[in-house]
Amino acid sequence: MLRDDVIEYSLHAHHSEEQGKKIRRNIWKVTAILTLITFVEVLVGVVWTKTELGETSWAWASIKIGYIVLTLVKAAYIVLVFMHLGEERKAMKYVILVPYILFIAYLIFIALYEGSALNEVWTIHGA
């Protein structure tokens, strides 16, 4: 069953001028989003600095989380649109993404937990 609402990316599926137009419009939209996010990130970093807010303040903590969320949004746009993984078969998409995300999430948890524990030991007993 052929679907006509998606654009093919397999080997000999050439795009028509019309499909091209649709893709280009999407590319420019994503470009604008990525630029805007980068601009917002820098603006926030300059206006509310870590030094002023204090590294342990809740304000800095929320900005930090905001940064990470914005980064993941940017990454998703790059992978799904620029690398058009979103247009590939679902099975392929999950074969690429799921093992990676699971492993990295585990590694982040274990490494940062370990790092903080080491920090506590150093703070109490000296480096």
Binding site: M1, R3, V6, E8, Y9, S10, L11, H12, A13, H14, Q19, G20, I23, R24, I27, T31, L34, T35, T38, F39, E41, V42, G45, V46, T49, K50, T51, E55, K64, Y67, I68, L70, T71, K74, A75, I78, V79, V81, F82, M83, E88, R89, K90, A91, M92, I96, P99, Y100, F103, I104, L107, I108, A111, L112, G115, S116, L118, N119, W122, A127
Partner: protein, 345 residues
């Protein structure tokens, strides 16, 4: 059927098992697998950075303080340069995706145009990174000083220019009575070398050739000392906000005549910005990424030459451009994370 790539593939495209997994070609799927493994490498590096950073929170440098310079404009532009680098890389990713798009329409001219734009963007990024490295290695005008109580402090403020050295004891090169000005040597450079080597004592500087001189220097302005590592009197995070006192403590610290009381810039053993690991992570992560960008540019050039010669047009599809595109976007993707975790957070 949930997928959509349902066209019949010819036997050249089919894999050994006579089917084509995920309806993709072998090359494209293997490029994806390579990118996953490369992403694991970068993920490992950034997580190692996070581990180290969580282990030593207080003294870790602050991005907008470390990276606040612009070429030709000097200091006081926090994060702008690196934001510009990020923008350059995003734009070159866009031009690449436009090249891939043109390839799907068999538009050879379009592919060449956008690939050349991508290559130019790539060179701009590599050049920016070279400037960034050079700036990181040479460091600020003040450096990081070891205070009398053994604590380490970095300095905010405005550096007062050095006007001249007037020689009062001859060495191999300079005679007594010589007045050395900025026409002869880079006075600031000479001064910082002397301070780091312990050739600065009181108001006397011993120059490279062994001659001794008095130096005339404008006052440093608006100085604030920020303690990064605790000593006998100060603890990490303390600030000496009184400008006059900060200026006095600073000049005492750099002109003791002891070697190593002040550190400028960064190398693999020490750096002025923070813990030793900070410099090493900076060099390794941005270096490894820069190496990826450089090889990406080289691959883009090779493929672009292929496009110009019409190799892929004859083949009937521009999948090679798409595969290099995947690699190039990956480089951009990594930079998005480096930008956040090295510079912003």
């Amino acid at each position: 059927m949930s997928g959509h790539a349902s066209e019949q593939l010819d036997s050249k495209t089919l894999w050994g098992g006579k089917i084509s997994p995920f309806s993709t070609s072998y090359g494209k799927l293997m490029m994806w697998f390579f990118l996953v493994s490369d992403a694991l490498t970068f993920g490992g590096l950034l997580i190692a950075y996070g581990y180290t950073r969580h282990a030593c929170t207080d003294m870790w440098p602050i991005g907008e303080e470390t990276f606040n310079s612009m070429p030709f404009l000097g200091h006081g532009y926090p994060l702008l340069y690196v934001a510009l680098m990020t923008f350059i890389l995003i734009v070159s990713s866009v031009t690449m995706v436009l090249a891939v798009e043109a390839g799907h329409r068999m538009d050879k001219k379009g592919v060449v145009k956008w690939m050349v734009a991508t290559i130019i963007g790539g060179f701009f990024f590599v050049g920016s990174q070279a400037w960034e490295w050079s700036h990181f290695i040479h460091g600020s005008e003040f450096g990081k000083v070891e205070m009398e109580d053994g604590s380490m402090a970095i300095v905010h403020g405005e550096w007062g220019e050095i006007e001249n050295f007037s020689v009062f004891e001859a060495g191999h090169h300079h005679k007594k009575g010589d007045v050395i000005t900025s026409k002869d040597v880079d006075l600031g450079h000479e001064f910082r070398h002397a301070a780091a080597d312990g050739r600065l004592k009181g108001t006397v500087i011993t120059l490279h050739d062994g001659s001794k001189a008095n130096f005339a220097k404008k006052d440093n302005k608006d100085m604030v000392l920020v303690i990064k590592e605790a000593g006998g009197k100060y603890k990490a995070g303390d600030r000496v906000e009184n400008h006059a006192e900060a200026a006095k403590l600073y000049s005492q610290a750099i002109s003791t005549g002891e070697k190593g009381r002040v550190i400028y810039g960064a190398n693999l053993e020490q750096n002025e910005y923070g813990p030793q690991q900070y410099g090493q992570f900076f060099f390794f992560i941005t270096g490894f990424h820069g190496f990826h960008v450089f090889s990406g540019v080289m691959i883009n050039i090779i493929i672009c030459l292929g496009v110009i010669r019409g190799v892929y047009h004859k083949r009937g599809h521009y999948e090679m451009v798409e595969k290099t595109g995947l690699y190039w976007h990956f480089v951009d993707l990594v930079w998005v994370f480096v930008f956040t975790f090295f510079y912003l957070v």
